[in-house]
């Protein structure tokens, strides 16, 4: 299964991913200029969180045991058989927000204006997720979940060296692992 990995050391918090996700996946106009004029305002499925010093682009981790799936009151959330991605069938969603309470990463968002919940589906029907495609620093990367451990090892080594060299206090986040200097 493929998931989107986030390289925290490369994320600058520029929100390009957010803007393009909202425009490409959430708007009718498909251009930024048109998107900002639409009502309700299009919403992104990836959000840049954290402080300005340690920003991080957050989106659904496509958990293997997804609490949101168990919580959904209508079956609107389901796992796509082929890709393993957790998707929302919007026409079954009643906007009850139960799923938003159960996602430990806080990455299913209520969208009250449209009465539906919103989450990243990894752009499963597209070749490459929009956010991965547009990120200027390549902080977002589509990886196979089996590659995860390998990447993590490389990342840990890189980060430790980088931190020592630059005496920086921020860390690296890949999938659901946060490493901080000194830990």
């Amino acid at each position: 299964m493929k998931v989107i990995a986030v390289h925290l050391d490369r994320c600058t918090g520029c929100k390009t991913c957010e803007l393009y996700c909202a425009t490409e996946r959430g708007s009718n106009g498909k251009t930024l200029l048109r998107a900002v004029q639409e009502r309700p305002l299009p919403q992104a499925r990836v959000r840049v969180e954290g402080s300005n010093e340690v920003p991080v682009a957050m989106q659904c981790r496509q958990c293997r045991q997804a609490p949101c799936l168990d919580a959904c009151l209508t079956g609107a959330l389901r796992r796509d058989g082929e890709s393993g991605v957790v998707v929302i069938q919007e026409n079954n969603c009643i906007g009850c927000w139960t799923c938003t309470l159960f996602c430990p990463y806080g990455v299913i968002y209520p969208w009250p204006q449209r009465k539906i919940a919103l989450k990243c589906d990894r752009c499963v029907y597209m070749e490459v997720p929009v956010c991965v495609d547009v990120c200027p620093t390549k902080a977002l990367e589509l990886i196979d979940v089996d590659q995860y451990e390998d990447l993590l090892r490389v990342k840990r080594a890189e980060t430790a060296a980088d931190l020592q060299r630059k005496n920086r206090l921020d860390g690296a986040l890949l999938l659901d692992l946060v490493e901080r200097a000194g830990s």
Binding site: R10, T12, G13, C14, K15, T16, E18, L19, C21, A22, G26, A35, V36, L41, P42, Q43, A44, R47, E49, N52, P55, P67, D70, A71, L73, T74, G75, N92, I94, G95, C96, W97, T98, T100, L101, F102, C103, P104, Y105, G106, V107, I108, Y109, P110, P112, K115, P136, T137, K138
Partner: protein, 419 residues
């Protein structure tokens, strides 16, 4: 028969699915009082106001599975544990090797509402009753709802505005008294009043009046209200009376450990029927809990080593046809309370915390970040000291993005050019 499940609500149904996956060679029998099973109980209010079509109400269709036998429209009346036998209302009996009790809850119906023979009184719980109420409502649109808890408030919010006039009667002086602080519930009350729902707080239904066998009035606080339909949503009790001679109940409660095993090693239980004894007694009363417990109980039925429930909380979210509401945890007496409030925008967010750990709270109007706050609470992780920051709503996309991102966008561009 390898396994028998009593109850085809969400806990029982989920158990069937998990059991079939985990033990494909074993047989299973599901028994339920109701004729129609495998539906979303939580959507009954939307079904009654006719916004939810019937085909969207069901999550399960009976399939041709030779290892699953479904007996519906039949009640389990008693159980003989020595011979591992269940006695049914149709005079049949069924034997089990392992038993899962998922009999859910039953509505509390106060004595005054139990008048036999009178039409127009509907306890909110089953599809059969909801169907009858749905057919009754168009000709009897003056409605009183007894109970201002989750089910009463939800039912009121969904019925109001469909040519139905609604009066909600609650005995406490606030709505959702078990889930919300007084301040938070004031917002819910304002929202319901906005929907033209009449609220009678600190009142109860004292008497009923009938005209030719049909309800015509309800007396609350000494005054008669003209009303043809009464929904009873005064809370629930675990449906365990049929176990009274089984020796399984302690003080009338069906107690289970965190593995969902009862005091009988061959019998497990899940969902609204159980009282979980693990650091204090706890009955979840929520759909997500019933779902998770159904799966876990099925997995533990034959497991050599059993797993335990990890997350126990009574969280709930609602969309009252406009006002979003997320209860992260119930108010805790003696805990510190931090509040974020913007009354002009209809936003109120509060957290209860002890020693820097979240122990309860609720978000109204803006429920952003609810998942993270709930997960911090159930993991008992220290949430830091800045509760005001934790409570601050998260911005929507675009809002504030364009102004703050210019600087960082420039940094990104510089970095990518250097790469």
């Amino acid at each position: 028969m390898d396994c028998v499940i009593i109850g085809g609500g969400v806990a029982g149904m989920r158990a069937v699915l998990s059991f079939r996956r985990q033990w494909p060679d074993k047989t299973i029998t599901l028994i339920d009082t109701e004729k129609e099973i495998g539906y979303y109980r939580t959507l009954l209010p939307q079904f009654m106001n006719r916004t939810l079509p019937e085909n969207k109400l069901f999550f399960w269709q009976q399939q041709d599975d030779p290892r699953v036998r479904v007996i519906s429209g039949v009640t389990v009346e008693s159980i003989d544990r020595k011979n591992r036998t269940l006695f049914l209302s149709n005079r049949d009996s069924v034997q089990y090797r392992r038993l899962l009790i998922a009999s859910g809850g039953r509505p509390i119906v106060p004595a005054v509402c139990r008048t036999a023979g009178g039409e127009g009184i509907y306890p909110v719980r089953s599809l059969a009753v909801a169907r009858a109420a749905r057919d009754w409502l168009p000709d009897h649109p003056q409605v009183v709802i007894l109970g201002g808890g989750l089910v009463g408030v939800k039912t009121a919010a969904h019925l109001a505005g469909y040519n139905i006039s609604v009066t909600l009667v609650e005995k406490e002086k606030q709505l959702l008294p078990q889930a919300l602080s007084k301040e938070a519930s004031a917002l819910v009350e304002a929202e319901l009043r906005e929907k033209k729902i009449r609220l009678l707080l600190g009142s109860t239904v004292e008497d009923l009046r009938f005209n030719r066998g049909a309800l015509s009035g309800v007396r609350a606080n000494g005054a008669w209200i003209s009303c043809q339909t009464l929904f009873v949503a005064a809370g629930s009790l675990p449906e365990v009376a049929f176990l009274s001679d089984s020796g399984l109940l302690q003080d009338g409660r069906l107690e289970v450990a965190a593995s969902l095993q009862t005091s009988d090693e061959n019998i497990f239980a899940a969902g609204d029927a159980v009282t979980i004894v693990d650091n204090g007694a706890f009955t979840p009363w929520t759909w997500p809990q019933a779902m998770v417990q159904g799966s876990l109980a099925a997995a533990n039925l034959y497991a050599p080593t059993m797993s335990s429930l990890r997350c126990l909380s009574r969280v709930n979210a609602m969309n009252l046809n406009g006002l979003s509401l997320a209860v992260i945890g119930l108010p805790v007496a003696g805990a510190k309370r931090s509040v974020y409030s913007r009354p002009e925008a209809g936003i109120f967010r509060e957290l209860y915390h002890v020693d820097g750990r979240i122990v309860g709270g609720a978000l109204l109007g803006d429920i952003s970040n609810a998942g993270r706050l709930h997960s911090l609470m159930v993991s008992s992780e220290p949430a830091g000291t800045d509760f005001n920051e934790l409570l601050r709503p998260r911005l929507d996309s675009f809002a504030g993005t364009t102004s703050c991102c210019v600087k960082y966008n420039r940094r990104a561009t510089l970095l990518s050019e250097g790469a």
